[in-house]
C-alpha cells in the first residue's frame, strides 16, 4: 500500500502526511541530508571562491560567503589574453561535437552491421569489439602517438577527433543490443518494398534508435569533454589546448601565482555543458549511466 502512495511524492508538507513515519526513514533522511551537505560543501566552496577577490581568497578562516562579489573573475577569463580560455572553450566544444558526430555515424553503421548479419566471421569480429571494451588507453597510446605525430597531426585537434570516426566499442555494443531488439519482420517488410540494405538502416532503423543515439551522444560528449591524457600528449600550444589541459596548465604555470579564484571560475564554466546536458536530458542521462555502467 505504502509503496503505491509514495511512488510519486506529492508536494504536500511533511507534517500532513498520514503514513507512519518509521524511525528507519527518519534516520535515513537525516543521514542523507548529512551526506548531501558533505557532497555539496566543496562545490559551495568552489562557487564562493570563484567570486572572491584575490585578497579575500587567502583569508583564514575562509569566508563562507564572499564579502564582495567579484564577478569580474569570470570576465577576466575571457579578456586575459594570456589565459586563452575562450579559445580553449571553443576547442573543447569543437572536439566534443565532432566526436559525437563521428561516433554516432560510425558506431551506428557498424552496430547495424553486427546486428543484421550473423555468420561465424561476424560473431568472431564482434568478440573482437568486445575485447577492446576494456583495453586500457595507455597500452596503445605510445604507438598511436608516434603514428599521429608522424602524420603531422601533432599540436592539432585531429588526433582527438579522428579516432571517433572509426566507431567506439562501447557505443557499437550498446547500439547493437538496441538494433537486435528490432523485430526481423520489419526488415522483411522493408525489403519487400525494395529497400536497399542501407535504406533499411537509414530509413527504418535509425529513426527508431533516437533514444539510444541520444544516450550515446551524451556519453561520447562527456568522455571527450573530460579527457585529459590524450590532449596532454598531442597539444603543445595554449591556443590549441582543450579545457582540461588548459585548466591544468593554468594551475602549474611557473611564472604566475595560481589564481585560485580564476581557477575556480574556470572550473565552474568548464563543468557547465555537462550540467546543462544533465538538466535538459536527465532521463536519457541517468539511463545512459545505468546502461554503460552495467554493460
Amino acid at each position: 500500500m505504502e509503496q503505491i502512495n509514495l511512488a510519486a511524492p506529492a508536494p504536500v508538507p511533511v507534517k500532513s502526511k498520514r503514513r507512519p513515519l518509521s524511525w528507519n526513514r527518519i534516520i535515513g533522511f537525516i543521514l542523507l541530508l548529512l551526506v548531501t551537505v558533505i557532497m555539496l560543501a566543496p562545490l559551495w566552496f568552489m562557487v564562493t571562491t570563484s567570486l572572491k577577490n584575490s585578497k579575500e581568497m587567502l583569508a583564514f578562516p575562509p569566508t563562507l560567503i564572499p564579502q564582495t562579489f567579484a564577478w569580474e573573475n569570470f570576465s577576466e577569463l575571457f579578456t586575459n589574453t594570456e589565459i586563452k580560455f575562450g579559445q580553449q572553450y571553443m576547442n573543447s566544444l569543437i572536439v566534443g561535437v565532432l566526436a559525437v558526430i563521428g561516433t554516432l555515424l560510425s558506431s551506428s553503421l557498424v552496430a547495424f552491421g553486427f546486428a543484421r548479419y550473423h555468420t561465424k566471421v561476424s560473431n568472431l569480429m564482434f568478440m573482437l569489439v568486445l575485447s577492446t571494451l576494456m583495453l586500457p588507453y595507455p597500452a596503445i597510446m605510445i604507438p598511436q602517438f608516434l603514428l599521429f605525430t608522424k602524420m603531422g597531426m601533432h599540436d592539432t585537434l585531429l588526433p582527438l577527433i579522428l579516432p571517433n570516426f572509426f566507431g567506439s566499442a562501447y557505443m557499437i555494443f550498446l547500439l547493437r543490443q538496441f538494433f537486435s531488439s528490432i523485430p526481423n519482420e520489419l526488415y522483411d517488410a522493408g525489403r519487400m518494398d525494395g529497400c536497399s540494405e542501407f535504406r533499411l538502416f537509414a530509413n527504418l532503423t535509425l529513426p527508431l534508435a533516437g533514444p539510444a543515439l541520444a544516450t550515446c551522444a551524451i556519453f561520447t560528449f562527456i568522455w571527450n569533454w573530460n579527457d585529459l591524457l590524450t590532449p596532454v600528449l598531442y597539444l603543445d600550444s595554449q591556443e590549441n589546448f582543450t579545457l582540461p589541459v588548459g585548466l591544468a596548465s593554468m594551475m602549474s604555470s611557473k611564472f604566475r601565482l595560481a589564481p585560485w579564484n580564476l581557477l575556480m571560475a574556470a572550473s565552474i564554466l568548464s563543468s557547465l555543458p555537462i550540467i546543462v546536458l544533465f538538466t535538459v536530458a536527465q532521463r536519457r542521462f541517468v539511463e545512459g549511466i545505468v546502461l554503460t555502467g552495467i554493460k
Binding site: L58, F60, M151, L162, F165, A202, S237, S252
Partner: protein
C-alpha cells in the same frame, strides 16, 4: 538521396584522414622562400619574438619565420617528438629542464662553425667568454641570446614596515654575508598560522636543488663532470660538506624558520608558482627572469647582490640562454640569419620591452635593460649583474647530461625534507644510490 548522405560522410571522414596525412610534408621551398621554425616556451617573455617577425621578413624576403610553442613542463618532450616525426624546428634553445649537454650528447645540434666564418662576437657586443660556453672541441653549437644571473629580489614594502635597511648591490661589500641575510630575514618573518598575517624573510631558491650546495662550498658532482660532457664519475652526497650544506639550506625552513614551508608556498602560489609574488616573502634568491614582470607586482621591488657565503668564488648561477640550430634543419644558413638578427643591438633593445625585461647578451643593449625597471636604479641592476658575472657559475642544467631525470629525482626525494618529515642525513644516501643507478643506466 540517402545514399548520397552516406557517401558524403565517407568522403568527409576520408578527406579529414587524408588532409591529416598530408599535413606532414612541409610546403617549404616555393619560389626559393625558405621557412624557419622557431620553437619556444609558451610564455609571454618568449613568444614576443612573433612580434619581430614582420620586420625580419621585410629585411629578408626569402625567409619566413614560423613560431611553434609548448608549455615549460613539456618543452623537452615535445621537442623530442617533433624531431622524431622529422618535423623538428630549425631554431630553439634549452628552455626546458634539459640543456645544452643533453642536446649535444643526443646529437641534436648542428655545428655552426662552417657558417660563422665572417661572424665576430664583438660585432654584437657579446663577450668572448660567453661564446665559449657553447663550444665543444673548438666547434660552436650555440649563440648566446640572453644572460640571466642569480639575484636577490626583495620586497621594499616589507623592509620598510620592519624598519630594516635595504641590502646592498655591491658584491664587494664584505659586510653583506649569508649570516647577515638570515639575520635580516628573521626581522622580516611573521610566523603565523593565519595565512593573511604570515610572512617569511627569505626564500632561498638559489639554483636547482643539486647545485644549491655549491653556494656553501660543496659540490654534489665530481670535478670531471664539467669537462667530460656532463657525466659525473662520482657523486658526493655522502661527503660531510655536502650533507652540511643541505642541512644549512633546510634549516632555514625548519630550525631558523625564516623560510616558507612548501605548504605555505603552495598555499599562496599553487604548485609551481613563485611565492615572492604574493608579497609575503621578504627576500628571494632567484634567477633574474623573476624580475621580468616586476613592473606589474603589487609591491615595490628591489634588487640586491647575493651575499657572500661560504663559497668565496661562486655566489651566482649563470643562465646564458643560447639559440641552437638543430642538426636536422634543412636551412642552417637561413636559421643563422634569424639568430644573428635577434642579437643585433637594435633588436635586443626592442626585445627588452617586448619581453617584459629579458636581459640581453648584447652588452650595448644591456645598458637599456638595466634602465627598464620602475623604481630600481639602473646603476644598481648593472652592479648586481656585473658582480654576478664575476662570481658566477653556469647552471648545472646546461652542463649535465640527462638533467631532466636527475632534477626530477632531487625534487621528489628532497620533498620529504622540505616538508619536515625526513632528515637530510636519511634522504641523501637514498638519492646517492638512486642517482648512481640512474647514471649507470643512462651513461652506459
Amino acid at each position: 538521396m540517402k545514399k548520397r548522405w552516406l557517401s558524403a560522410i565517407l568522403c568527409v571522414s576520408l578527406v579529414t584522414v587524408l588532409a591529416g596525412c598530408g599535413g606532414g610534408s612541409k610546403s617549404a621551398e616555393e619560389n626559393g622562400v625558405v621557412t624557419i621554425t622557431h620553437y619556444t616556451i609558451d610564455s609571454p617573455d618568449r613568444t614576443f619574438v612573433e612580434k619581430l617577425i614582420p620586420d625580419f621578413e621585410k629585411k629578408h624576403p626569402n625567409i619566413k619565420i614560423k613560431v611553434t610553442k609548448a608549455p615549460y613542463e613539456q618543452f623537452d618532450s615535445k621537442l623530442q617528438s617533433a624531431i622524431a616525426a622529422k618535423n623538428g624546428p630549425d631554431v630553439t634553445s634549452q628552455w626546458g629542464y634539459g640543456g645544452f649537454m643533453e642536446y649535444y650528447n643526443k646529437g641534436m645540434l648542428a655545428d655552426l662553425t662552417p657558417y660563422l666564418k665572417d661572424f665576430k662576437a664583438s660585432d654584437y657586443n657579446i663577450p668572448e667568454n660567453l661564446m665559449d660556453i657553447y663550444k665543444v672541441d673548438g666547434k660552436t653549437y650555440g649563440i648566446p641570446l640572453n644572460s640571466y644571473v642569480s639575484v636577490l629580489l626583495y620586497n621594499k614594502d616589507l623592509f620598510d614596515k620592519a624598519g630594516v635597511a635595504y641590502p646592498p648591490t655591491d658584491y664587494e661589500d664584505k659586510s653583506w654575508t649569508f649570516d647577515k641575510m638570515v639575520e635580516n630575514a628573521k626581522k622580516l618573518t611573521v610566523d603565523s598560522k593565519n595565512l593573511a598575517e604570515a610572512q617569511y624573510g627569505l626564500d632561498f631558491g638559489w639554483g636547482e636543488r643539486d647545485q644549491r650546495p655549491q653556494y656553501f662550498g660543496a659540490d654534489v658532482y665530481s670535478e670531471d663532470t664539467w669537462t667530460n660532457g656532463g657525466k659525473p664519475s662520482q657523486i658526493n652526497l655522502d661527503k660531510p660538506n655536502v650533507i652540511d650544506a643541505y642541512k644549512q639550506i633546510y634549516s632555514l625552513i625548519w630550525e631558523k624558520k625564516v623560510s616558507p614551508t612548501p605548504a605555505f608556498s603552495k598555499s599562496v602560489s599553487g604548485q609551481f608558482g613563485d611565492p615572492f609574488l604574493s608579497g609575503k616573502i621578504g627576500m628571494s634568491a632567484v634567477g633574474s627572469w623573476s624580475l621580468a614582470s616586476s613592473n606589474n607586482f603589487n609591491f615595490k621591488v628591489g634588487v640586491a647582490a647575493i651575499p657572500q657565503g661560504p663559497n668565496e668564488k661562486v655566489r651566482s648561477v649563470l643562465y646564458v640562454d643560447p639559440l641552437f640550430v638543430l642538426k636536422d634543419s634543412k636551412h642552417p644558413k637561413e636559421a643563422l640569419e634569424w639568430i644573428k638578427y635577434l642579437i643585433t643591438t637594435e633588436v635586443q633593445e626592442k626585445s627588452i620591452e617586448l619581453s617584459g625585461g629579458n636581459p640581453p647578451v648584447n652588452q650595448k643593449a644591456a645598458e637599456k635593460y638595466y634602465a627598464s625597471f620602475e623604481g630600481i636604479e639602473p646603476a644598481q641592476i648593472k652592479q648586481v649583474y656585473e658582480g654576478a658575472f664575476k662570481y658566477g657559475f653556469e647552471s648545472y642544467n646546461h652542463l649535465m647530461d640527462n638533467y631532466s631525470q636527475i632534477n626530477e629525482l632531487f625534487i621528489n626525494e628532497l620533498a620529504g625534507v622540505e616538508n619536515g618529515e625526513k632528515k637530510v642525513e636519511d634522504v641523501l644516501p637514498v638519492i646517492q644510490e638512486k642517482l648512481k643507478k640512474l647514471l649507470d643506466r643512462v651513461n652506459k
